[in-house]
């Protein structure tokens, strides 16, 4: 079975500042990793995914994430955030037939 931990439930950050949202996972099998974004009153939208290959993955809206197998982490980063990035972000892990989401991190971008 897999599990996902998102260490920060809320992250406030000023506009144009960099941000990192942390995600750690545990699994006994090889996994695929995802970040989703959820804007208020909407469904989840895929930001980026790691399936194999380069450990640095670039996604939509200027986000990127780095897979670190030794630390079992998949942290999400953006060098300069915008007000429109305010949303909830979910890390997810897929291994075997399971697809497990973390509890989410609420990113608030302040003017």
């Amino acid at each position: 079975a897999q599990s996902v931990t998102q260490l920060d439930s809320q992250v406030p950050v000023f506009e144009e500042a960099p941000v990192e949202l942390r995600c750690n996972y545990s699994s006994s099998v090889s996994v695929y990793l995802f970040w989703y974004v959820q804007y208020p009153n909407q469904g989840l939208q895929l930001l980026l995914k790691y399936l194999s290959g380069s450990t640095l993955v670039k996604g939509i809206n200027g986000f990127e994430a780095e897979f670190n197998k030794s630390q079992t982490s998949f942290h999400l980063r953006k060098p300069s955030v915008h007000i429109s990035d305010t949303a909830e972000y979910f890390c997810a892990v897929s291994g075997g037939q399971n697809f497990v989401f973390g509890p989410g991190t609420r990113l608030s971008v302040l003017p």
Binding site: V4, N41, Q42, K49, F99
Partner: protein, 112 residues
């Protein structure tokens, strides 16, 4: 683009009512999923289906059932709604052999 639609964005029902939540996807995906989302708990899997007329229990199936009579449609049924089923319900689909899930807009259900 993949499109997953859910029959209602907001729904208010009374305790004890039978509730149907409908989900339709237009990309011929084999796999479909129902989640509920509650603050601080993330998404929890209720049921999923890998094919027509097939269903598998997820992590929290109690109080729910599902129906998949056609490939594109996956229905979630609350047999007798209770207040602890007040939640956001999200439907997702994915093609066989792929991993990322595509989500509908969600249905916010309130049971009074």
């Amino acid at each position: 683009d993949v499109k997953v639609t859910q029959s209602s964005r907001y729904l208010v029902k009374r305790t004890g009512e039978k509730v149907f939540l409908e989900c339709v996807q237009d990309m011929d995906h084999e796999n479909m999923f129902w989640y509920r989302q509650d603050p601080g708990l993330g998404l929890r899997l209720i049921y999923f289906s890998y094919d027509v007329k097939m269903k598998e229990k997820g992590d929290i199936p109690e109080g729910y059932s599902v129906s998949r009579e056609k490939k594109e449609r996956f229905s979630l049924i609350l047999e007798s709604a209770s207040t602890n089923q007040t939640s956001m319900y999200l439907c997702a689909s994915t093609p066989s052999g792929r991993y990322e899930q595509y989500f509908g807009p969600g249905t916010r259900l309130t049971v009074t």
